[in-house]
């Protein structure tokens, strides 16, 4: 960020003369603003002592001769040298540098010396080419002839200048001058114009040259000023934010740096989120947040979100022009490609970016487009988009909707259809789906879910890491409501892609038929999380972290899902225990190596989770009670995950538990 300060073009001190009205008492450089800097004493005598022109002359003439101290030209909006010289018989109009005057004081006099309403407030006004900032003051006092003393010390800049760093300067000057006046009548004393002139000159020179100044006004008062570049306040730092360095901070650490700051800086790597940094750096979380906040203020870091395979991203409008920007095009490839692979060209990368949508997790997207094969480092790929500003994270906001969960059981045959269709469409068919469903409540969910549609790939978090190569296991959304059928279709990204709803429907139906699970039983998984495979995972009873990462292969998933879907239809029955089979692969998976584990900010959590998974025991998963309060649609899953140190799979479990336990449904909003 550029820290150059705009140059002061002129400084002037204006007051209210009881006869002449608002006028400039002194200004530097001289004459830039068309009003002489000399008080009345040197201007030609007022008409009372000279023969005034006959009244038949146009007012302009009369005005001019009467008041040469003010350049009340006929068109004050533009400078006319001729009229100015006319207005001043003395011809005292040669400016020192032969500069043209900037503007006419009359244009702005009502903002420099305004009525009482504007006094005591910072006033910035603009003329055609300039901006003037000042703080008009009005001091009441019996000693003043008209009961008030008005003055204003203003700075003139170019019109496009950013004045934010001068605001405190203007306020301070006004304060100091006002108190000088109150103490000793400094400003209103008759002989002080020379002193004021000196002050203004010094202000003009020093602020322009050194950006600071120290002017003593009299024995007791002085003006001490320093201009600081003005940055806006940084946004609040949250624990789930991931800072990423924009400059090499570590190289700049000096001995006199704050300890926390020095420690924290070393862990800013674009992967660690704030609470993790605090943990790694062994610092208090509040101090860590402060340090990050400071770095944000000085704009040496920026924040992105925690990378998880369960994340969803979408393009922003800015892609329209950013896609053509050279820096984007040239930097993306080298930044995102893993070493040893050839760098894909920009159109290919752009195509990949465009395939990211809300409802499609990173894992799904990876699978579908064989991103792995291209040798693209997905974390860097997505963070590149986020940093450049054309990619945006779509967060999941769970919300607990109270209400009876007794959704009428829709006939299972309808539901599955809906489910299936839903899965497919998620981009367009939902509305129709909604219409179809007899139940209204699930509809709502469907609608919500539909958008996210592809949340699934629940596996994304945790599991995805482990199994980067594994096809994404569908993770259902947490729509609990009994019938909330989940998305189930996520896994079918490919089929979904096909526009033929019927085709998918057919394939799903056929798969369904393969399954023997009765509709009612499958319920367990309804949690919609389409955890891979089994409906069971979700069910309330078994805590089994449904997280999904099933190692599954797509085929496995599909069938697994189907039953789930079906089961989703009917109200969740907690009776069924999902078959273990799906779990087994999961377990296997768990034990598998996790090459990308370190990438996940929730890695540690994952481990825990895996541990749990390993147990597979029917240990009831209890969710923390505080989680309930936070399910108001205002806290997204990253925040909840970091707060409770639970990965998305675990969170999903909890949410489904909650849905069943509390009398309500947990819906997830994507935005």
């Amino acid at each position: 960020m550029g820290t150059f300060l705009p140059r002061i073009q002129s400084v002037f001190y204006a007051g209210f003369d009881l006869t002449a009205g608002p006028k400039i008492i002194c200004q530097v450089p001289e004459g830039l603003i068309t009003a002489p800097s000399i008080p009345n004493s040197t201007v030609p005598p007022t008409p009372s002592s000279e023969t005034s022109p006959s009244p038949s002359l146009p007012p302009l003439h009369v005005t001019a001769s009467r008041n040469s101290s003010l350049s009340a030209v006929a068109s004050p909006t533009e400078f006319r040298p001729s009229s100015r010289s006319f207005s001043s018989p003395q011809g005292k109009r040669l400016l020192p540098n032969n500069q043209a005057p900037l503007f006419n004081f009359e244009e702005i006099s009502k903002y420099v010396i305004p009525g009482p309403a504007l006094c005591g407030r910072l006033v910035i006004c603009s003329t055609k080419n300039h901006r003037i900032i000042g703080l008009p003051s009005q001091l009441r006092g019996g000693k003043y002839q008209r009961n008030f003393f008005r003055f204003n010390l203003c700075f003139v800049f170019e019109r496009t200048a950013d004045l934010s760093c001068y605001e405190p300067i203007v306020r301070k000057i006004s304060r100091v001058l006002a108190s000088c006046e109150e103490e000793s009548g400094f400003l209103s004393a008759p002989g002080n114009h020379a002193a004021m002139n000196a002050i203004i000159e010094q202000l003009y020179e020093d602020l322009n040259s050194y950006s600071e100044t120290s002017i003593s006004i009299d024995q007791f008062n002085s003006i001490e000023l320093k201009i600081f570049p003005f940055y806006p306040n940084p946004p609040e730092v949250k624990d789930w934010m991931v800072p990423i360095m924009l400059i090499n901070l570590v190289r700049r650490i000096e001995d006199n740096w704050d300890l926390t700051m020095a420690k924290v800086c070393r862990y800013i790597d674009g992967v660690n989120h704030v609470s993790r940094i605090a943990h790694l750096a062994d610092c208090d979380i509040k101090l860590t947040r402060e340090a990050i906040s400071h770095l944000l203020y000085y704009q040496v870091i920026m924040t992105i979100d925690i990378f998880q395979y369960s994340n969803m991203y979408t393009l922003r409008k800015s892609i329209q022009w950013l896609a053509d920007e050279a820096h984007v095009k040239d930097e993306c490839g080298p930044y995102s490609t893993k070493p040893g692979f050839s760098i894909p060209d920009w159109p290919k990368l752009l195509h990949l970016y465009s395939r990211m949508k809300p409802g499609r997790t990173v894992l799904e997207w990876m699978e579908e487009y064989e991103v792995q094969e291209l040798g693209i480092d997905v974390r860097r790929f997505t963070s590149f988009g986020v940093i450049k500003g054309f990619l945006r994270r779509v967060h999941r906001y769970p919300i607990l909707v109270p209400g009876s969960r007794s959704l009428a059981q829709s006939p299972s045959d309808i539901q599955p259809n809906q489910n299936r269709k839903r899965g497919k469409s998620f981009t367009g068919i939902q509305p129709t789906l909604l219409n179809q469903s007899p139940e209204s409540s699930p509809q709502g969910q469907y609608l919500l879910r539909g958008r996210t549609a592809h949340i699934v790939l629940a596996a994304t978090s945790l599991s995805s890491e482990q199994a980067t190569s594994a096809p994404p296991t569908p993770r259902g959304r947490m729509n609990q409501t009994a019938a909330s059928v989940v998305e189930p279709d996520q896994p079918h990204i490919r089929p979904r892609r096909s526009s033929a709803a019927e085709r998918i429907l057919e394939s799903l139906r056929s798969r369904d038929q393969n399954l023997t699970r009765p509709p009612g039983t499958a319920q367990a998984s309804p949690r919609t999380s389409i955890f891979n495979a089994d409906p069971s995972s979700v069910s309330t009873i078994v805590p089994v972290p449904s997280i999904t990462t099933t190692a599954s292969k797509p085929q496995e998933n599909i069938p697994a899902r189907n039953p789930r879907r079906q089961s989703l239809i009917p109200p969740i029955t907690t009776t069924d225990v999902p078959p273990n089979s799906p779990n087994i692969p999961r377990l296997n998976l768990n034990s598998g190596s996790r090459p990308q584990l370190e990438r996940s900010p929730s890695a540690p959590i994952t481990r825990t989770y895996n541990g749990m998974a390993a147990k597979v025991a029917a240990v009831p998963l209890s969710y923390p009670m505080e989680l309930l309060e936070l399910l108001d649609g205002e806290h997204h899953t990253d925040e909840l995950a970091v707060r409770f140190e639970a990965g998305w799979p675990l969170l999903e479990e909890w949410l489904s538990l909650i849905s069943e336990g509390q009398n309500g449904r947990v819906l997830i909003i994507y935005r």
Binding site: F16, L18, G21, T46, P47, L70, I113
Partner: protein, 319 residues
């Protein structure tokens, strides 16, 4: 109905003080605390309910005057109903004042040829020499400076009733059918056997209309000092403005003890007077010299006449 009233004059001549006294009901002493007016201060004063006076109090400093005559010319001088130009009786720059006055008059005649012009020679209380001679001299000067334009000149001061007289006259010109009102007041006076009936505006207590003396012809005389009829009761010619001033001062005292003034009844040795609310926006004062008439009877009459006057007032502002 809106009427624009321009209040212009040299700086420090007393324009804002006048406004404060008449329209804001502040006592004269409080005007010492007012500051200089920056540029134009606009006020909307509701007068008689339907008439809104749009007062433009224009600051008199040179910079402002110059701008009124040049850049703000049309804004200031268009659509003006009345221009009141205030001169400081004690000014030391009479020529400059006159010049500005002439320029303003030019502007006015150009942009609002139908506007009425009133000139107030203010701060008469400061004048040392005999006031009437000074005033006459001044008036001549102003007549000359105004050329062909019809003007009315008043000498005023905020410390006595003269200001009320001037403003009552001014406001009277803004009420379209004051004549009708006057006629009705006369009839009412006859009905009450009253010597005089005066209609005041409620907030400012400026005289709106009066009944004609019963002995003279029923010509509506709005200007109190032009009544030519023989004044049988030897009433003070300044009684109208004196009443305005006194009642206003009394109202102000009432408000200081947080009471509201409603009505006044005076049963005196030689006359009876009743001051009561007539319509929503007006007060009426009935002065009766017949000793046999009770105040209650007068009040009853007022009550019965109320409706008629309300009707009249609705019509009087005109549509």
């Amino acid at each position: 109905m809106k009427k624009k009233v321009l209040l212009m004059g040299a700086s420090g001549s007393g324009k804002t003080s006048m406004r404060s006294l008449i329209f804001s009901n502040n006592p004269a002493s409080s005007t010492a605390r007012l500051g200089a007016t920056i540029d134009v201060e606009q006020n909307h004063v509701r007068f008689l309910g339907d008439l809104i006076l749009n007062l433009w109090d224009c600051g008199g400093q040179d910079a402002f005057m110059d701008s009124y005559l040049t850049t703000q010319r049309s804004t200031i001088f268009q659509h003006v109903g009345v221009m009141i130009y205030v001169f400081d009786a004690e000014t030391r720059e009479i020529n400059k004042d006159l010049e500005y006055y002439r320029d303003c008059l030019d502007g006015l005649t150009q942009c609002s040829p139908d506007a009425a012009v009133f000139l107030l020679v203010h701060k008469m209380d400061l004048v040392q020499e005999p006031k009437s001679t000074m005033f006459d001299k001044k008036r001549e000067e102003l007549q000359k400076a105004s050329g062909d334009v019809a003007i009315t000149v008043f000498g005023t001061s905020i410390y006595d009733e003269s200001l009320y007289r001037a403003w009552s006259s001014i406001v009277h010109t803004l009420i379209p059918n004051a004549a009708v009102l006057s006629r009705h007041l006369t009839k009412f006076a006859d009905g009450c056997s009253a010597t005089e009936v005066i209609l005041f505006e409620r907030t400012t207590f400026l005289v709106i209309a009066t009944s004609s003396p019963s002995t003279s012809d029923a010509n509506s005389s709005s200007s109190p000092d032009s009544s030519s009829a023989y004044d049988f009761h030897q009433m003070n010619p300044k009684r109208y403005e004196r009443t305005s001033e006194l009642i206003k001062a009394f109202k102000w005292s009432c408000s200081r003890v947080r009471e509201e003034f409603h009505a006044l009844e005076m049963d005196m040795y030689d006359f009876t007077a009743v001051l009561d609310e007539m319509t929503r926006n007006t007060y009426v004062m009935v002065v009766v010299h017949d000793p046999t008439i009770e105040t209650a009877a007068i009040k009853l009459n007022i009550r019965m006449a109320r409706k008629k006057f309300e009707e009249l007032q609705g019509d009087s502002i005109g549509l």
